[in-house]
Symmetry: C2
Subunit: 343 residues, 2 copies
């Protein structure tokens, strides 16, 4: 049973109010007794109860973070930024995964509500608008990362998918590629669509037609698998380069390419998205569109704090930049290349 301010009060022969004041350092109190009380508190091994404090202050200094799955490296970096920023502000953070299950996602948010978190941060939600109905009751700021939605309490932090993908495509065009494919994500229709748009716009700006055969978005349980399937599906269309929804998808394509005896980047260039650590460990290292993940996590906390302080907070959009590694190169000379008959 932990020591309470009452225990201290008794030991110090004062009222528990005085103890409270001494411990907070605020309020009129003589420096001497304050010091004496603090001394006693330490001796007795007192640790204040955040629970009790929360009950009166009506704030828990607590954040709830919902992610689809913590196994996603992108999500980890985001969370890392969130946790750091939260720690600096004296906040603690609950982490729960929804496992792609909208029901569980709502359940998690409900739990957070019960625990009276001061704000909720959601990454890669698939429900988005579902929150709407919820918010009338749960009047707490919710900031969405890389996922937009409408709502009074909804704010977002995102990276510029369109611009990022344009970077990737322009890089490939610059290398001389003309048959550039896009592998999207069926699991994340919104961001996938934005990235597809970036892809389309970059081609358009280069006055290149869009070959629908070169655009796929396979259904698959994992991104790796989606990448594998994507590559297989694309082979008949003979792309010389692939822009993948994200790095894991690109790695899936990479693994499948190896299986098929397709050399990367000699016969096929590959660009990922996110710039996760893994890009440096695969072979060849993966060219990727960098998102400032930690910064986005921090920004999400910043948004939340601003809102809690009554300040307005708009939607934040972070620019991406390209990191060129070994998976992209000029296409092999015209006529030489046929993925179905690797050199």
């Amino acid at each position: 049973v932990p020591v309470t301010i009452k225990d201290i009060a008794e030991a110090a022969n004062v009222s528990h109010t005085t103890v409270s004041r001494a411990l907070q350092g605020r309020g009129r109190i003589s420096a001497t007794t304050a010091k004496r009380i603090r001394q006693i508190a330490v001796e007795m091994g007192y640790t204040p109860s955040a629970i009790a404090q929360s009950l009166v202050s009506q704030r828990t200094r607590t954040l709830g973070v919902v992610v689809t799955t913590i196994a996603d490296p992108f999500v980890i970096s985001i969370f890392s930024g969130i946790e750091d920023a939260a720690h600096e502000t004296g906040y603690s953070v609950f982490l729960s995964s929804s496992h792609q299950d909208p029901e569980r996602e709502m359940a998690v948010v409900e739990t957070f509500h019960q625990r009276r978190v001061d704000a909720v941060i959601v990454t890669a939600s698939r429900v988005g608008s579902l929150y709407g109905a919820y918010l009338d009751r749960f009047q707490v700021p919710i900031v969405l990362i890389n996922n937009q939605a409408e709502g009074e309490y909804l704010y977002s932090v995102a990276s510029n998918d369109v611009q990022g993908t344009q970077l990737a495509v322009k890089h490939l065009l610059g290398l001389g590629h003309r048959r550039i494919a896009f592998v999207g994500s069926a699991e994340r229709p919104f961001s996938s669509e934005r990235r597809r748009q970036g892809y389309a716009q970059a081609l358009h700006q280069a006055s290149m037609p869009i070959d629908e055969e070169l655009v796929v978005a396979p259904e698959a349980p994992t991104d790796i698998e989606a990448g594998r399937l994507g590559l297989i599906e694309l082979i008949p269309a003979r792309p010389t380069a692939i822009v993948a929804y994200n790095d894991m998808t690109a790695v899936g394509a990479l693994l499948e390419a190896r299986r098929q005896g397709l050399a990367i980047p000699d016969q096929l260039s590959l660009v990922g998205f996110d710039d996760i650590e893994l890009t440096q460990y695969v072979f060849p290292p993966l060219t990727s569109v960098h998102q400032p993940k930690e910064a986005m996590g921090k920004a999400a906390v910043g948004q939340a704090m601003a809102l809690l302080a009554g300040q307005p907070a708009g939607d934040l959009l972070f620019p991406c930049h390209l990191v060129v590694r070994g998976s992209t190169a000029a296409p092999s000379p015209v006529g030489t290349y046929d993925p179905r008959q690797p050199a």
Copy 2:
């Protein structure tokens, strides 16, 4: 401002006590009024305050998890197991990283104490025994993962480092290797030492001498870097195989080997530890000692729950098994191999 049971009481023309009873479903109360009250509660959008409940029940149904860094894939899997198990039990979990900083680790534990978490789970702590002094005040079960320490409130869940490393060494011996090296971790002296022991014992059982030149534990900021340095340091001793502290270390060695033009597994076999997902994405895929990470996370929660229920909980040790992939093979014929002069 959220709805309280008082609000409901008023709306239902009963006392707040009755509302409480109706909502809990326990205690003598007429089925009709109970139903009526629950109805009203839903209409009013009531969500119980876990804060208030905790204050009276003296339990928060909350777990605190401390990790060194969330960027470690091993840690992620552990946490994943923890979160799943916690969710099933109706617990929420705080996650904080210590960033290898003992002071911050203590600060985090202190925060958890303030928040009155019911139990704490720590992975990869470097301080361990430091907790001792703390526990007199913070009388809450602490379960350590892969890290042992003494103490009344301390329990542990671990995988069998010794047995796991033996598996790795025996595999290599079976392939015909005679010069097997070990790259430990300077950052985690305890588990590193246990794995070194497994290495030594396996060699001993095969009546092989231990060449101290083949045992290193480089100081490095990251495991990847440690792996790189380890390989460099080992080259003069001409190992034909390396057992690495963990998978990231093995990948570091793999990358450095590639830089040096050393073919894996032809000129050098490599075994990792942990069996993280990444092992499947590098080339060649990494042979690794598998730890049941999710299960260990779940077990840690199980330990905590048992303790909270007043049941005794011992220390748990999980066996490992070997997963053979492409990074291990028979050594090249005697005399042919010289890492300094790659073929």
